[in-house]
Symmetry: C2
Subunit: 356 residues, 2 copies
Amino acid sequence: MKEINPKIRIKDIAILAGVSEGTVDRVLHERGDVSAKSLEAVNKVLDEIDYTPNLLARSLASKKQYRFVCLFPAHQNADYWHSVDNGFTQAAREFTHYNVHIEKRYFNQYDVFSFVEVSNAVFEQKPDAVFIAPIFRNETLELCEKLTREDIPFSFIDSLIEEVNFLTYYGQNSFQSGYIAAKLSLSSLSDHAQVLIVRTQRKGAVSNQTLNRYNGFMQFINDNHLAGHLELSSVEIKDNDELANKESIRNIFESNNNIKTVITFNSRVHQLAKHLEELNLTDAKLIGYDLLEQNVAYLKKGAISFLIAQRPENQSYFTVRDMCRELIFKEKITKVNYVPIDILIKENIEYYLEMK
Amino acid sequence: MKEINPKIRIKDIAILAGVSEGTVDRVLHERGDVSAKSLEAVNKVLDEIDYTPNLLARSLASKKQYRFVCLFPAHQNADYWHSVDNGFTQAAREFTHYNVHIEKRYFNQYDVFSFVEVSNAVFEQKPDAVFIAPIFRNETLELCEKLTREDIPFSFIDSLIEEVNFLTYYGQNSFQSGYIAAKLSLSSLSDHAQVLIVRTQRKGAVSNQTLNRYNGFMQFINDNHLAGHLELSSVEIKDNDELANKESIRNIFESNNNIKTVITFNSRVHQLAKHLEELNLTDAKLIGYDLLEQNVAYLKKGAISFLIAQRPENQSYFTVRDMCRELIFKEKITKVNYVPIDILIKENIEYYLEMK
DNA sequence: TTTACTTTCGTGTGCGGACACGGACGTTAA
DNA sequence: TTAACGTCCGTGTCCGCACACGAAAGTAAA
């Protein structure tokens, strides 16, 4: 039952070191204008006593205002980016008292030019920090270089670009999540079961998340020598042509009548569920990604067996929090942060959704 | 790009309402000593303007100190309660600036008297809030009634007792988690597979968590009409007699040579893993609960197939945070909070552990 | 020795709000 | 009319810290 925190204030340090409070302040903030002698005296005291500045008082007294800008895809209700947005909102509320102002800037994730335009505007503002969803690799790189030149810190969410010096990354280890998808969907299959992989063509440069997932998936098959025991087939569907897609599905199921598992590595699994339902093909297990409202609905109905999810709100919230810790609280933070890979089934989805 | 928070201070309200700052303060804190006229004037302004008090300044200026006491089982390294402990520690660090002081009080979870003793001591201190792990039902009830009489708020973690008026509960929906365990372990079994349920006798009153899990497990069997297709057997093992336990396991495996699945509803699954390993019985899938270090080790080795986990740190952290929100920030909070049910396998455990 | 800088230091004010104290004003009873 | 008391209100101080400004001390040039 020891007493923590004997409450040491700058005033106390000043007395202990035999200098004025102003001097202590200068040492703490490395403002200069301190003689070697005082510097040493203060540092000595600081070493002995473990002084924790009162962050409340600090923020209250500080006149510095922080402007953070978030740069990520525009979105509809209840999709992945919407959750990310919520995380930013939550952070905004929490950190407003610390003089940080958060501004969201959206771009069209299917249009490079929209990204370039918005990112230029962001840069012109000279914010104190930027959070980026690096959908477009090259254009993001350009932005990052400009930011680096101006000493403006930035962080990534969702995906990351290794070549630049970001502050933090929050996202999924997509390779692993593909590996897990394979484990969940393949491990109880009998010999010669057919597995269908559905891939979506997307125009424009995109993140390599889905590719990594695919690679992870294949790695599991390799590791467990399943290649000879399973019949893998794969089909490409369109970005926006539901009818054609449905037809593709129908065809592939006609020519393969033992498909036990259908997997897609993006969040559009609800479209597949819809097609399979309409085509009366409800035998196969369906696996997909992310907690879209529609996906959740099909999961609850039993049409989707597994959803693999991350926690988008956390990604955005944590990245803002870490930026504050870096800039304001001067704390140690870790650069790359993998968000947990959540396995969701009908039975645990309720409790998952209840968490903020 | 709207500007949030036009920064309104008490001073502004005073001017707008044509009264002094002291009067505004009295209205805000319902300190009385305010004429009907001033009261109305201030309330009018407060209605129009949406004033958010600066919590930093508030805590800084407030002389009120909060003393929170946490009452939960003593523990060794790396077990469930250790994580809970960490959550409290984290909360302690974070809220110390808000004048809250957190004190931990441990009791022996196998000894009612130890609980009574500690809980009496806690009550004598007249703390500002108490957090309780209600291992012993009746004795906890007594404490709660005394606390209620003194208007001391309290919250539950891990389990809850409905009859008393607690502030929050954070914990798992154990029935559901048993249901999920069944789904994971039973759904890919072939007909007439044998399933072994391992139960642990414990002396003293205990929480009904494991019972609920068991019930959830059986419910899944019912819902899916598996009773006829599976052979369930069950064995009781001792709390503390490893040798006898090993022997029991050996016996049951001798008389049942088609056991495909072994499940236990508590966190001691690592002991089972050890026995099975030593007995060279590595064919069956093993399922258990909670992220003990030893469990994790066996999960990584492949000896345990699934671990079902909650997030103990979160339980304790959130419950403290909510108490602060209630007492200090006067925010709305929800009473019963089910923590997500996490499904852990070899492949996602790494990323789970990385989260704080 | 005086003047002009430069380096170092101390103090005062304010951030937004809590709280105490004492003062102004009104009411009642002597 | 005045003493005695209650109601209502304004102001000042402090919380722990940041930051600016000006003073003091030291140094170099004239």
